[in-house]
Symmetry: C3
Subunit: 675 residues, 3 copies
């Protein structure tokens, strides 16, 4: 079996040989075929400057390797050791308020600091030398969860210097900069690039403001977001390039998916071999809506290369975040979630982690095995999951998720712009994209979550949620796509700002009014006391978040206000544009209305649904085998039976058993079906 299933392992935490041997035995008996190691052990690998000792990790790699267990080796750069922080205080991360982040937690380094990069190069070279050709090593993870916990926007002098330099290179003159960023607002224009200060208002969820509100230039801010993201990418590539000179194994890093959003992953993974991410669904309650959405993103970053789930819930335990402990997995939920991940095109699922930490900030939180090394339910469920995975491996390895008919386009500039200046507290860019994805999923439609920079010309439908920032290239692609016969679905907050986060002085959706056949006439947030009813003829819905009220410029209204002083005004439009059709959805809706609207649109675009009647908490993933056959994985995330009605009689894709048309799936169960 090529699929990798295992967990993180920290041999460097073990002091007694007996305990180590016991762990080896338990790992072997778990059935795991992969472990992940080393992302936090720089202190062990380089106990003092220039002195390296890889024996602990190397021995574990080899011992496990001989048992048939492969290792993903991590570079340890998330945590510079104490001696480095003490001897080179300039490597410290500096927060938005100018306060140094001292040694004592993690991510306490500046990713742009050259001293730190120097130490990074040396340790990565040693890792390359030591593990590059090791037959038991299956791949490399660079660092750990870049930009987590408010560590993604360093404000040190080095960062300021590099940022100023990057601005200077891009804009050449302060005149050009001032005009591009609209800096005459509040008299903020520069006469010298060196006058630029870093933005101060926090955008990271863990950062704290200096005062309650500090009104930075949004253009400075968006450019700084890109700069910091690019700095991480530069730092990633610095490591990747060294590793590539030592190894042919796969190189990746573990992103936080849509959790942190400090780095543009589309850009970062251009030079990686495999996309990696960490995900912590709640294995008791979770309907996996977010996971499903994120997995669609994950499998499309590097197409035709299965992604690696490098950290994954196992359930249970105290929390890292104080007072927020985790529920134990519902019986069967580990297998359910793991198989869902593999069915979503994961090539590896690596639980976090083998044994509960006794010490440190993450002590007592979730792991496969408790601190007493007594195997219990989670361990046994892991074993059973591995057995069943093997039964499914032939199907999973020789198939991949069927390319969807629908793409959902994601854009980091829009994400950041709407984080810098949110329009409504309840609204989030990613949250709304996930709402649309989930509505499709519940209807039985699949969707690929991709960058607008991808080629999306062969999708039947392209949905563009809140693409607030637009550039000529994106606008041209969307127009060309529609002109050629595609069905384009735009939403409120589309095409208002340029890539400097400056609003464009045109009627919105800027550059796309012709394709959508509408102008945005009035915009407005939706408050609880201003919710209006929108009429679609055959159904109605309530508006949500935000309104882009539309003025027809050729489009026909398909959704109009049923009440309020806007009664009769257009809020959802449909336009024929050359060979294609473009819809503009000027507001968000309650779930039911969203589903009816999307169903109407996709039906008209001749998009096919999965041949099942589904329900909330049930998901179908259709995989296409190398012989063209389809296998439908159906998951029941609920804690009660699910009843799925198929269009035709089904058989089990693993056992060949006849299943009829009415299929019952047990709580937290799943099934692979041919129809």
């Amino acid at each position: 079996m090529n699929l990798l299933y295992g967990f993180s392992f920290y041999p460097e935490h073990i002091y007694e040989e007996e305990a180590y041997q016991k762990d080896l035995k338990l790992i072997k008996e778990s059935g795991a075929n992969v472990v992940r190691m080393g992302e936090f052990c720089w202190d062990v690998l380089e106990p003092s400057e220039g002195v390296y000792d890889f024996s602990t990790i190397e021995r574990a790699v080899n011992d496990l390797g001989k048992m048939g267990i492969q290792t993903i080796i991590c570079t340890p750069t998330a945590c510079p050791p104490a001696w480095m922080s003490r001897n080179y205080p300039e490597i410290a991360y500096v927060d938005n308020r100018g306060i140094r982040r001292d040694f004592g937690a993690r991510h306490h380094y500046c990713y742009n600091n050259e001293t730190y990069r120097g130490f990074t190069k040396k340790i990565v070279e040693k890792i390359g030398e030591t593990f590059g050709k090791n037959p038991y090593v299956v791949g490399f993870q660079i660092g750990n969860e870049f930009a987590q916990e408010g560590s993604g926007r360093c404000h040190c002098d080095v960062c300021r210097g590099k940022f100023v330099q990057s601005v200077k290179e891009h804009y050449k003159t302060t005149e050009n900069l001032n005009q591009s960023w609209g800096l005459r607002f509040w008299g903020q224009s520069y006469t010298d690039f060196n006058q630029i200060e870093l933005p101060i208002a926090p955008t990271e969820r863990d950062a704290r403001p200096l005062i309650k509100s500090y009104f930075d230039s949004p253009s400075l801010r968006l450019n700084f977001e890109r700069f910091a993201s690019d700095s991480f990418i530069e730092y990633f590539n610095l490591q990747a390039d060294i590793l590539k000179s030592y190894t042919d194994k796969k190189i990746t890093t573990n992103t936080t998916g849509f959790g942190t959003n400090g780095v543009d992953y589309f850009k970062m993974f251009q030079t990686a071999d495999v996309f990696g991410l960490d995900a912590y669904p709640d294995l008791y309650r979770d309907n996996m809506d977010n996971s499903s959405f994120e997995n669609s993103f994950a499998r499309n970053i590097i197409r035709n290369e299965k992604f690696w789930m490098l950290e994954f819930s196992i359930g249970g335990g105290h929390g890292l975040w104080s007072g927020e402990g985790r529920l134990q997995p519902y019986p069967g939920a580990i297998e359910n979630a793991v198989m869902h991940t593999f069915a979503s095109d994961a090539g590896a699922v690596v639980h976090f982690q083998y044994k509960i930490f006794c010490s440190g900030a993450e002590q007592l939180n979730y792991a496969l095995i408790d601190q007493d090394r007594v195997p219990r339910r989670r361990y046994f469920e892991f074993q059973r999951t591995m057995e069943h995975l093997k039964e499914h491996s032939a199907v999973l390895e020789h198939s991949q998720v069927k390319k969807a008919d629908t793409a959902i386009l994601i854009d980091y500039n829009s994400l950041w712009a709407l984080r810098i200046k949110p329009v409504k507290h309840e609204h989030s860019y990613i949250g709304y994209a996930c709402e649309l994805y989930t509505a499709l999923k519940e209807l039985g439609y699949s969707a690929d979550v991709i960058s607008w920079k991808n080629d999306f010309s062969d999708y039947k439908t392209v949905i563009v949620p809140n693409m607030f920032v637009i550039c000529d290239e994106a606008a041209e692609k969307l127009k060309a796509y529609t002109a050629a016969g595609g069905t384009l679905v735009g939403t409120f907050l589309t095409a208002i700002k340029d890539t400097d986060n400056v609003a464009i002085s045109e009627s919105g959706p800027c550059g796309l009014t012709e394709v959508f056949g509408v102008n945005i006439s009035e915009i407005e947030p939706v408050f609880e006391d201003t919710v209006a009813t929108i009429d679609f003829g055959s159904f109605q819905g309530k508006d949500k978040y935000w309104l882009d009220v539309l003025e027809g410029k050729g489009a026909e209204p398909i959704g109009t206000f049923a009440n309020s002083y806007r009664r009769g005004e257009m809020i959802v439009s449909k336009n024929s544009y050359q060979k294609g059709t473009a819809y503009y959805i000027g507001t968000a809706f309650d779930d039911d209305c969203t589903k009816k609207l999307l169903d109407t649109i996709l039906k008209e675009a001749s998009v096919a649904k999965a041949p099942f009647t589904l329900a909330k908490g049930v998901e179908v993933i259709t995989r296409e085998c190398s012989d063209g056959d389809l296998v439908h994985y159906i998951f029941n995330f609920k804690r009660e039976d699910a009843h799925v009605q198929a269009e035709k009689n089904c058989t089990c894709a693993i056992t060949g058993k006849q299943l009829g048309k009415s299929i019952k799936i047990a709580p937290k169960g799943y099934i692979a079906i041919k129809i």
Copy 2:
């Protein structure tokens, strides 16, 4: 027409001549007769130190002037340019935690810094030279919204030095200071003035605490509030004096009314020509209670001189405060609110602003016209408002709001003292004063919101809400007023502290026990689970916020506890004092009870109501014409019809049309009536 109606305009944001010409045309066609310019363009006016270029603003003033549109010119001192912040870092504002506020937002300067004042003088002189005699300039605005966004209490060394000096001058010896401030509490007495540190706990709504609670001396704090307020006044006068040497035009600044409360406006406007303020009522929902209250304050600061509304809502758009976008104006609401402002004795209403900002912290928020320069509903409503304003101008210009029979006295020391040590989270000094004002308004009584330093001897009734800080002068005026036959209404939290924010060692209300005929016996906050019923004989009410339980010293009880262990004890008293009457209202009440109580009191004081039966959301403003005739402006702020019953048959003051006694006013409508 002498009334000014227009909006802010930012010609310095425009780069293309074509766009500029289009703006001129749109402004002209809007019908506006005034614009406000220049409050944030120091970077343009003085692009580098000592180099001045006023051409952009001057050209716009002249171009618009030739079209018949006048300009209010602002000094640009709210935003020092980047070169100044970089080259003179000592000018930076320092917050309560000692953190410098760097260039990048606005208000990033210390108003006490001499370097900054030096630059200020030079730019203001240039403005005086350039625009002082320009025939198209109608007046000058100094700076912009002093003390906004946590910029009103600088903690830099210069401020500390000046504050220490001012304390030294006032108190002469540390012995005197220690005794005056009661500094032996917590052993805080000084032996040298130089030991004084600035207070740290924040009072500004946008400042952040150092620790959750830092217990400064309230006396230090109140003195620092006055010092900072005086510093702003000094800074204002520094500019005003220069301008006066160049011009005869009106000089003002745009205050934030009761929004920020960092500066004592009664004191600041002693040297100004006209009172200016900014107000942002919600034009969808607003009942205008706060605006009405604030306008009464505004028109009484400089009597017989119409105030200028220098920034005013236009509705719609993204918010400056992230996630807090604004609703579009309800149809008709712009006109409704604007006419309400003029009817309240505004001489100018200047919307914020002409065209939606494309860039900067305020990008995409509200303006007359959208970023695509396409006139839409707000623009058309502006045009219509201007037309109707002209129809009303004869009435409005030749009348002024009739002096009320009732005054509400405001005191900044009490405001600050209750902000420094609030007694109850739900209670605010201004909020409670506004509650009383609103109760009167809904009953058809008008009230003038004035300083206790004004002459209030000719009012029939004087209401003194929460005058927590008392001085001999104020106490004497209140006593003399009552003795001479006035009706004095005091409330809970009256006359407890002196102007050093030290409680007076006497029975409260200190110095006023004789006039009120009561002593305060027990005080107590009112919690949800301790609300008591108060009985007034003919009606009852529920107490709120705070209790001053009263012990009779001659007064008769008119409100007593109907339940709780205080059943029968006095909470509202009435006392005859020489020729007058004094009421002490020992707690706040629900709205209905407040109205019944005030109605009883005012009736007994022979105060006349407007001759209409009103309702919530409807307001009458009675104006007195030069010929003594009265015109009643009645506003319906609701989104439904209002029905007003008049005591006699009415006619429309504009058209002369007969209206009968039953008057229907459309949603967001208004009417001017003679009766």
Copy 3:
């Protein structure tokens, strides 16, 4: 009468002789026999460096003494004077974010700073000299409420240096330290002790985080908690040792009981003569549950020595915390609460305070007498309380609270560990212990709240709530206790971590699995949507906070899951261990279930209840007289009558009056009974 009853008095605040004389008179007429003085007047005692002036305090001590009123003298070290802060800036407290706490509030000093300790020594010596032999002085209070308001964890360089030194002394080598703290987690091992930085994430309730989450090492953190606690103890002893050389009077300090929890009081009071604490029950609403629990702790710290309540509610007034004013005492509540405190073995009750402060951060909050020096209800209730206290003094002085049959064990390491990493926001270590105590109290059982380091061998039942941190000594004591025939009651979160805050690699409850006859199998927080029903056969309950699901190793299940996927699994166990019995209660319950469960356990352990049927809001305190007779004090904390049913006919212990078996107690009343 040897019982002390009075209030704090601040003669240093008084400037006029007349006022001083009036105060002396009022104090005398109040009937008080004790005052507390001097904790905040260093500025008066040492007006400039090395110049001492004790006349104000000394005169007051003597004047009052001659009236028969004794004084508790405080050292003034909570508030270094301004000249010291200015001239020796190095003495300042530094917060977790590295920001100095300047002069201006209180506690603005570092307790480890040698300069500060030098000044401390000198002033304390002077106090010893001046008051050590004064016949009117009854005792000494050292400092004031150590570690209040976020002042308990100084982060200055001196503290860092001493902490590093203490770590070095304890662990000898970094290897040993790294292993003991498990520092290989996140690569945090040290190669030099000097690399240690102080922990940054705040644990104090008033401190503020640096970023939203900063994940310190919990081992570093717990060691720092102990270090800071020890530093306070060292600082306390530094003062106590000096005083002891001058006086034989009692030495104490006023702790905050379970309010602040910055210092291990068991350890601090080993060298004190009497335990002192401050308590502020709400005299309107309070059911005294927390006070009752805290008093049990207070009277057991130094056994057979009545504790001193050094600050105590008097009710009413503005709050120190802005917007959180205090209710006035319900009529009778002062006496009720004071007698409850004496009945709980207080030897002194000192109200805070004599006269309302006019100035400073605590201005206008609660005192016996208002700022106008007019005696009102609180004063009269004080007088009456004193009269009644005298009537009870014979009984109270010649008896003490009967030793309970049940002990509740408290452990500061567990308290801190659960504060460093809470398991659930709703759960607190002290809160849960108090829940158990209250359940017992309402059933009529008394309990002694003691340290596990006390000898608890002669209790019938020992309850160990959440003893998360375990050491060999504690485990051995618990085992020996049970083996010898005791009834041990453990709860969830018992015996998981060692004293370095590192989880132990054994099955939990670590070291106690044999005595309890169970292993903890799965752990989990309880959320609102995951509450399960637990079945005890004769009753049921709902789980709360946290689950330790149990696996039987000899114990019998007495509580099992009635629903959820764990139906039938054990959550409460009972085990016979040698001569004794051990219960493990794997979760918390609703109040009713907790009572039923504890009643079952205590009945089986033959623990006797008070011979009354009680109810919520009613408490019995049984006192044992020197002749062995029992007197039962019964308190009604409610604002309505309480009806108590006695097992036999009763008589009043003061008057001898026959009371029968049905006893009615008035609102906020109490009675002393013999039965």
